[in-house]
């Protein structure tokens, strides 16, 4: 990853901007039922161990590129993104097949409630983080 950041620095004009945006694994995602007004939290969806490790490696690569004065940190933030599902079965299928999350949610409602609302629309609410980094001049 550090190699990639060095290469990105090469192709960026001095003062150019690198945008690093990715899911924020430091924050849990949530499985929620869509209600006529708002959402009801049904479960917590954690990030898989492998992806947590990958995210930490990415963080270290960025930190090293900043330390090596390839980039200066300019601005960072986080926003929430909703992934929609037509029903609970579709959400479960997504979790089974998706690499980023653990394959089962930790439900915070009982089985009877899940069954009662299984045909309702659901979302996974997940955090997305981003950071803008400015390319330092090559000789700085």
């Amino acid at each position: 990853m550090v190699d990639a950041l060095v290469e990105i620095h090469r192709v960026l004009a001095p003062g150019g901007i690198l945008v690093d945006a990715r899911p924020d694994s430091r924050v849990s995602a949530y499985a929620e039922r869509r209600k006529p007004r708002g959402f009801q939290r049904f479960g917590i969806v954690k990030t898989s161990r492998l992806e947590l490790a990958n995210d930490r490696a990415s963080d270290r690569a960025i930190a090293r590129a900043v330390r090596d004065e390839l980039f200066k940190r300019r601005r960072r933030g986080r926003f929430w993104h909703l992934v929609p599902f037509s029903d609970l079965a579709e959400l479960r299928k997504y979790l089974r097949e998706h690499l980023r999350f653990v394959h089962r949610a930790e439900w915070v409602v009982d089985a009877a409630t899940r069954n009662r609302h299984s045909n309702d629309q659901f979302v996974i609410r997940r955090a997305v983080r981003y950071e803008l980094l400015e390319a330092c001049p090559p000789d700085s």
Partner: protein, 117 residues
């Protein structure tokens, strides 16, 4: 693609989790969060890990020129098809790896790693 490039692409691909493009935020939503259209307006933009071109094509109407690069040949083929369908003329897509970018020094004003690193 040369064997060297294939090896690099293959290795890089191992570290990149697959994300369904349709399940990600819309390009203008992401752009708004990053600070708005001024970030890419009139700029030369590289979308690294462009996938099917979702984000690259989203910013192409604002940017001077957009290049998308991705290790997955099928994704790049999709990006080219999507670009043709959308009638976008200032975006180009290629197969490649982040460690060996086929561009000269200082070729871009903005590089986007959206769900890539």
């Amino acid at each position: 693609m040369s064997s060297v490039t294939k090896d690099c692409v293959g290795d890089f691909g191992k570290h990149v989790p697959a994300y369904a493009s349709t399940l990600r935020p819309r390009p203008h939503d992401e752009l708004r969060e990053w600070g708005g259209s001024r970030l890419v307006r009139g700029k030369r933009v590289l979308d690294l890990g462009c996938g099917d071109g979702r984000l690259a094509l989203g910013v192409a109407r604002l940017a001077t020129r957009v290049e998308g690069i991705d290790p997955d040949p099928e994704a790049v083929a999709s990006a080219k098809t999507n670009s043709r369908r959308a009638g976008v003329r200032n975006a180009r897509f290629a197969v490649g790896a982040a460690q060996h970018l086929p561009y000269p020094d200082g070729a871009f004003d903005v590089v986007i790693l959206s769900w890539t690193l």
